[in-house]
């Protein structure tokens, strides 16, 4: 078992999830509460990683963050090294790749909050930040947990973006998915089985925890 890759995967997923929640909460609130006609384009952009092949996204990020573009050269000048083939680069790629998995549950949760509650808060002088953090987030707790769990699991299981953007550098960009790929390529099916089981176990435990927090079984039928 490659415990280094295991720890790196958990670290990547944790950092990505934290950043995603910080980005997705205001973005989802903007999509639900905003009135601009441009929001449809923004929502489409945020959902794009859902339909884009991970390798395509990884390729674009590889080019964008590399020395071929002004953005990439700016980052190199700022950090002293390119973001590609580094842990930080993986975080950037993971945040973009998993963005819809954080945004969409939050949009659904925020949109389910009754508009008259938002109106009441506005009349009582609440600005957008107060409405989001004292009303939308508490009332959409389950969506927040869903966004966190889905973002975490999606990052744990990502492969295409990691391979394209990070390569396979032990301790830096080698995640469990890359380890599994290497093990299969080397016909080490016993080790691959152990790695795959860990990935499967993580997903099942996290999803079971998420769904156990929901409404009690059959409550909708009893209502």
């Amino acid at each position: 078992m490659d415990w280094q890759a295991f720890a790196l995967t958990l670290r990547l997923a944790s950092v990505t999830t934290a950043i995603l929640l910080a980005v997705a909460i205001p973005l989802a609130a903007l999509l639900v509460l905003g009135r601009s006609r441009w929001l449809a384009a923004l929502e489409a952009l945020a959902a794009l990683p859902l339909v884009l092949p991970p390798t395509v996204l990884g390729f674009f990020l590889l080019v964008l963050l590399g020395p071929r573009t002004a953005i990439g050269r700016g980052i190199i000048a700022l950090l002293g090294h390119p973001l590609a083939f580094s842990f930080d680069g993986l975080v950037v790629g993971s945040v973009i790749y998993s963005l819809p998995f954080a945004v969409q549950p939050l949009v659904a949760g925020f949109a389910a909050v009754q508009p008259n509650l938002v109106d009441a808060a506005r009349l009582l002088g609440a600005g957008p930040a107060k409405i989001v953090f004292t009303l939308l987030v508490p009332l959409a707790r389950r969506s927040l947990v869903a966004a966190a769990v889905l973002s975490f699991l999606h990052t744990v299981g990502e492969f295409g973006v990691v391979l394209m953007l990070g390569g396979d550098i032990p301790g830096s960009t080698r995640t469990l998915s890359i380890v599994l790929y290497n093990q299969v390529e080397n016909f080490d099916y016993a080790a691959a089985n152990r790695t795959a089981t860990i990935l499967l176990g993580l997903s099942v435990v996290a999803l079971a925890a998420l769904y156990s927090k929901g409404e009690k079984r059959g409550s909708a039928r009893r209502a």
Partner: protein, 239 residues
């Protein structure tokens, strides 16, 4: 004094109202669908229909312009010193009654805030509910709390959209009586939208009669609602 000249469109419904409300307590009377709620939401700044409409719209309260489309002025709901209590209490379900009433008092010191919350709950006769949750309240209790929450920030304009519908007649009259005294003492201009003529007669308010989005009459209840009074009298005599 509240001055308004509004034209708004919502689908096929057109609202066109121009008036000056100088009385402390004004009743906007009209049947369902007359445009009462639309008018109150525009006054509260919740609907921007006036902004997007090509026609003019202006609302001013004691000389302060709250909305003026010609100049692109639109004051946000929380900055109008205006409170709206609707038929639906809209209490925040995850907060206690105390936190609901204190929601609009964010910038105040905690002691002053607690005193203010207690004052408002005493006014609506609901001090015993302070630690309860909205889901534990009856419809009438929730409406009392919604009123207390709306009054707590000290509005200059209070908009009431049939907010006592879940209270029985005696409780409603008592609450309106206390509210009228409070509004007079605190110099709060109150606009009550209703389709119940007894609300207009019992409060001795000035009445603005709204029909199909148009203001058709304005004046004392005894004059404006003469026909309504006769209809009620006839109905009582026939029973």
């Amino acid at each position: 004094m509240l001055e308004l000249a509004l034209k708004a469109r919502r689908g096929s419904f057109h609202l066109e109202v121009e008036c000056r409300l100088a009385s402390d307590w004004t009743v906007v009377f009209g049947p369902s669908g007359a445009g009462k709620s639309t008018l109150l939401r525009l006054l509260a700044g919740l609907d921007k229909a006036v902004r997007s409409d090509a026609a003019t719209g202006k609302i001013s309260l004691d000389g302060q312009v709250l909305t003026e489309t010609a100049r692109g002025v639109w004051c946000k709901p929380g900055r109008r010193h205006t409170s709206l209590v609707a038929q639906q209490p809209s209490l925040f379900p995850h907060l206690s009654i105390e936190a609901n009433v204190a929601y609009g008092l964010g910038s105040l010191d905690s002691t002053i805030r607690a005193t203010r919350v207690a004052e408002m709950l005493e006014l609506v006769d609901a001090m015993d509910l302070i630690k309860r949750r909205p889901q534990d309240l009856s419809g009438g209790q929730a409406q009392r709390i919604a009123l207390a929450r709306a009054l707590a920030p000290g509005p200059r304009l209070l908009l009431l959209d049939e907010p006592f519908s879940a209270l029985d007649g005696i409780a409603s009259d008592a609450l309106i009586g206390r509210l009228q005294t409070w509004a007079r003492v605190n110099r709060v201009l109150t606009v009550l939208a209703t389709h119940d003529a007894t609300d207009a007669f019992s409060t001795g308010a000035e009445v603005a009669l709204l029909r199909e989005g148009r203001l058709v009459a304005q004046g004392p209840a005894t004059e404006v609602l003469q026909a309504e009074r006769e209809r009620i009298a006839l109905r009582l005599m026939s029973t």
